[in-house]
Symmetry: C2
Subunit: 198 residues, 2 copies
Amino acid sequence: MTGPSSLQELISALRCLPGVGPRAAQRMAYHLLQHDKPGAVRLTQALGRALQAVRRCPMCNSFCEEDLCALCGSAKRDPSVLCVVETPADLLMMEQTHAYDGLYFVLMGRLSPLDGIGPREIGLDFLARRIATGSVREVILATNFTNEGEATAHYIGEMLRERSVRLSRIARGVPVGGELEFVDTGTLAQALLERRPV
Amino acid sequence: MTGPSSLQELISALRCLPGVGPRAAQRMAYHLLQHDKPGAVRLTQALGRALQAVRRCPMCNSFCEEDLCALCGSAKRDPSVLCVVETPADLLMMEQTHAYDGLYFVLMGRLSPLDGIGPREIGLDFLARRIATGSVREVILATNFTNEGEATAHYIGEMLRERSVRLSRIARGVPVGGELEFVDTGTLAQALLERRPV
């Protein structure tokens, strides 16, 4: 006796969401069916539509609905600078700074050999071809400062070394508004090593 | 620039899930579209089917797909004992004990006046009518030992006081396998108060 089968199947299907275990899936299913049927209908439709409409931008590798994403198709962006980020979420963060007007390349992941994620899985062959067209003058590596993000940046750096593009990595250091007392020692050591003349 | 609209709508729709904020919703949407399209298809179908198939059992108030849920329709259960629980999850926990062979009434919530959840919202009128039929001999109150669960149990107790049914509350005390040293003092005090002759 474990309840209706369509409810069981819903609970089981909800577990495909990242970070959702058996208890959370059960709570979600009960919540939707008991308290938020309109939300469940909306979610069903949104999933169906997104599955149909969302594809990859052939330029930046991020999600888009048209032949080209709005950013890559924009005439206002500088096509000679390319910022490499791990995820669409990182791209959004970069956009929110309003400090960048070039284009992006979204890896949709990071190198992680143990998980079977190699250069091809994060579209590096695709990135190399894009650089080979010669339209890009500078590549900014904006992967995370985690081990995997650093390894990915290093790999891309090596890959593009022979190309005639300028390569840079976003700066590491003490966060804006950060107090030295509360910054971890690794970050502080880096901030010291990478000090800039004033 | 916030990405394709169907992706935005999916992220927004995912927030109807309990405990899912903007970041988690974004991560879920990216995960589904990038790594688990089969999972997303399965979830879409499961939601659609559950929305169509799942309704409330007219006997116990829990979720079911037929005219009567499997438990209420079972000839093996004792119809003279009724266990009142807050949620279908609690019912499943009770079933997993294999220590109960009566029927259930599922409140699908608990009294919570501040949230607008009164006796009618948790089906107490419905429970009163069921008791009035005279088929139930004993009611076991198995709501949680939270403030709201206790208040709900108290309210149901008062409501059924005049009826000729035996009323009981599941026992509070030190958990099985629990060590006194690590039990909170409130629980220990209750275990002392409600000590049983051996």
